[in-house]
């Protein structure tokens, strides 16, 4: 019995202590999702830093893997906003957004979903995905475009891919890259391997680069990988969608051969920030809504910060604050 009393006394004490020292904070609060790739983290940190430094907010940040779960969490009001969604990867955007996405006066995407998630505005980052090979391999084998790949497929082969070459493909099926389909349609005799996470794909690619082995990698830019390693794109055919677009879940994934997606490369990804409609409709957060409407971070700025964070291994917050201090002209205009 002595034992249980000891324990209960300990527990009681902790509870009492907590009771006497709880603090309350009166600042305006928002809850942000921090993405699980560095580019997205930086974009979000820029937004969070400005909200906190200039607009008197206290933003709680939660690391949350992107995907359908994130969209549902925002629709349910668990989180208030998230940054830098890439339209070509998200299935949820067409179901949950109900607005046009406008970049520099041009409509680059229009959505007619149920409006359970609010399109807050552009993030400014314009992404591009492609297949990439290291420059040393491209020069050694003379590979200029994807058409030259088949001649050298043996050099890209691994134990698992056998006679075919290996593509370190889009890591997650949920991103809708359709790598194997694209390779087959274009007649590239490679096998697309789905490694499950970005980390797995990049780890293999990094190790192969360090050993100067040939490899082909699916990747998007801006990405820190390009800051550290010299890669060249294989220039997939330009993005086209066949008319009518039947390569959708609604169209039962009927492709139209080589005439359109997925036999082409990706479209440019005009990325956006998105949030909970109720939160941003309230008068309390109208300033934040205005800020998100104007925010537009440029690729080149994100790329610079990516190098600082991922290659020089500096702290994200430190890097973002340094950028804000040195480039006030770039972001002062976003303030409401």
């Amino acid at each position: 019995m002595k034992l249980s009393k000891k324990i209960s006394a300990l527990i009681l004490s902790v509870v009492l202590l907590i009771g006497s020292f709880g603090h309350a904070n009166a600042a305006k609060r928002l809850h942000a999702a921090i993405a699980d790739w560095t580019g997205g983290i930086i974009t979000c940190e820029v937004a969070v830093a400005i909200l906190e430094r200039e607009m008197g907010y206290k933003v709680k940040q939660t690391v949350f893997p992107s995907g359908t779960g994130l969209w549902e969490a925002i629709a349910a009001g668990e989180l208030d906003f998230a940054c830098e969604s890439w339209p070509s990867y998200a299935e949820a955007d067409s179901v949950m957004l109900n607005e046009d996405l406008i970049y520099e006066g041009k409509v680059v995407g229009s959505y007619s979903g149920d409006g359970s998630v609010d399109l807050l505005g552009t993030s400014g980052i314009i992404g591009l995905s492609d297949y990439w090979i290291p420059r040393y391999a491209a020069e050694e084998f003379g590979i200029k475009t994807w058409k030259d790949l088949n001649k050298h497929k043996a050099k890209f082969a691994t134990i698992e891919s056998g006679k075919k070459g290996r593509l370190i493909g889009c890591p997650v099926a949920g991103w809708n890259c359709h790598d194997q389909k694209r390779l087959d349609l274009l007649g590239i005799d490679f096998q697309a391997d789905e490694l499950g996470t970005e980390a797995a794909a990049i780890a293999e690619a990094k190790a192969a680069y360090m050993r100067k082995e040939p490899f082909m990698l699916y990747l998007w830019s801006p990405h820190w990988f390009f800051g550290e390693f010299d890669m060249v794109g294989v220039q997939l055919p330009e993005h086209k969608v066949c008319d009518p677009d039947t390569f959708t879940e609604a169209g039962n994934w009927k492709d139209c051969g080589t005439k359109g997606w997925p036999a082409t490369g990706w479209a440019k990804d005009y990325t956006m920030n998105y949030g909970n409609p109720a939160t941003f409709a309230s008068a309390e957060h109208s300033d934040a809504k205005k800020f998100f409407e104007k925010m537009s971070l440029q690729n080149i700025d994100q790329a610079k910060m990516l190098v600082e964070v991922d290659i020089k291994k500096r702290d994200v917050k430190e890097v973002v604050n340094e950028w804000l201090d040195n480039n006030p002209d770039k972001w002062k205009s976003w303030l409401p």
């Binding site: 000891k6 939660t62 969490a73 698992e160 499950g196 990049i202 780890a203």
Partner: protein
Amino acid sequence: MATRSDLIDKSNQSKNILSYVIIGVVFLVALWLSTQSEGPSKFPKEVTDKFTFTAWVNDGEDYLKKNYRWVTKLIASYIKETYYFVEDFLLESSWILIAAIIIIPCIIAGGLRLGIYSSFVVYFWGATGMWEPSLQTVALMGLSVLLCVFFGFILGVLCSQSNRFENFMKPVLDTMQVMPAFVYLFPALFFFGIGGAPAILATMIYAMPPIIRLTNTGIRQVPAQTIESATSFGSSKLQLLFKIKIPLSLPSIMMGINQVIMMALALVVLACFIGAEGIGGQVWQAIRRLDVGWAMEGGLCILFMAIMFDRFSLAFSKTERTLPSDVQRFYLLPQSWEKYQIAKIIEMPLNFGNKILKIICQLVTTIIASLFKLLVSVFNKSTADNIGEFISKRYYVIPYFLILLFIAFLDHYFLEIGTFPKEWKLSIRQPITNAVESLTVNPGFISFAKGLRAFVYLNLLRPLDVFLTQIPWWYTLTVFAALGYVTVGIRFAIITALLLLFIGACGIWTQSMITLSSVLVSVALCFVVGVPLGIIASYNERFRNIQNVVLDAMQTLPYFCYLIPVLMFFGGGTVSAVLATVIYSIPPIVRLTSLGLTQVSGTYSEVSRSFGGTLIQTLNKVKFPLAIPSLVIGFNQTVIMAFAMQIVTPLIGGKGLGLEVFNGLARSDTGRGLAAGIGIVLLAIIIDRITLAYTKKQREALGL
């Protein structure tokens, strides 16, 4: 007599030959069948189309979401409030206060040694820049352990009182432990929101079984004489339970709490996938940025934390060894060093300090006790005496609170202590990262890695994959059912067949065969590597001690810490998945091999050696046969752990049911994820039961 034992021997031999022949025939038929089929075996389409388990689950989930979400949200909001309360307190208090809260109980419970160790742990959190995440993990773990102990204790007591309830709980507990956490982690998200609340609830599912089991067995193992004498004094059933049985089973319950803490820590790390903060998030971020060193620092924070909590909770259940009065008690060094003069000299000031500390504590406590006594005696004399006595007995706990209050007071009004000082930084990131990177480009090591990868893939994984997926499903099913019949009995054989039919009807037959194949390959590799290690350990004690430390570390380190090095050396894909599984699930087989061999080493091996047996002969003919039950248990645990790992391997390119779970969740298709998760559980349970029944038979045959 001799003829009789001869006869038994002969019948045993012929039985052995017969079973080998049967196994051989079964295998050959399977081989022939698999070469006949083109492509993987498929379940009849009519069945899989009609049996839309996935859709049923999703409909059910939608219904629950629509109608009962307010209930779950209410529960979640309570848990969330408490969690944020604790978290805010931990993060906003000064670091010295937090350190004192953690370190002083360690000193009280575990003495100076544990105190020094816990100070090191707290320093390590701060120095590696993981102060906040570490405390968040502590908060998450602490709350889930509290809830687990509360509910687990109640359920355990209920189990101990009713055999029917116990029989009902047994399979439930098994499922709770084997079911991959990812399966319920994500649905928890939709019902309980993100962050602390679903993490705590999911942790409860995973970590509660040990406390239920150990409370139950603890109460059931109270000696019959004690109970009899209590009943003869006229105790009622409730009195018997609360005054006799529960107090007597406290050591067992403490053991359960210890295990709950360990398991909760393991799951809290995974909870970063549903937005719970803490070290898990740090490790995951580190992995995404391929920063091996950072991931390792996070892993070490968890590892040290786990050891600290483990020792702390064990210290509670251990009774203090009293020494004879003429021997000097050692506080820091091992007691066995008392023959060295220098150890005594080192211990002298510690002894002195301890005495002074004790006197001060007693003095302070007595003053407080008499103060309280004075205060209360105004109202009631006898309660005052009781309270005074109660306080003065707690001469460790009371000064502890005084110190805490003093620090808090100091911080609040005079000094701003704030967070952990940045100047005390310590970083081991760079050396670890450098080591991994130099191995990545080391030609010798890489050619070894490539050879291993080719060997595992070409000779083990691919043939077995093709073999298992191409055998017609009805054949595999029959073989499993027959195995169940031979080892356990007819009832189990029918259950096995039904469970496998369920897997097939869900349309995941091929994936489950791929999972089975990678588990079998991993377990085989564990055997090849683990058994020799166990043998060496059973002969050499120093080797065994070092090995045990390594194995402990391997089991507590969050498994995604070592995923990146595996990826850099072996590339992504199924081979890496198998190797990661081997690293994770090898400890039991090593431990139990060495345990089994050391247990029989005494008389049996001496007898064998006196008859002139060589070392190898003794090992082969005497020790191994006797150690078989222990080996099979090790094998069994390794299999279960290998199945559990299948849910993580998709992160580095694993295939099969684990990937199904991930794909289901990525599209928020709970039904698909759940079906695959159940598939993993069912396969694990079938193999578990068959091997356990086999061990039982072996034990009986050996007369153990």
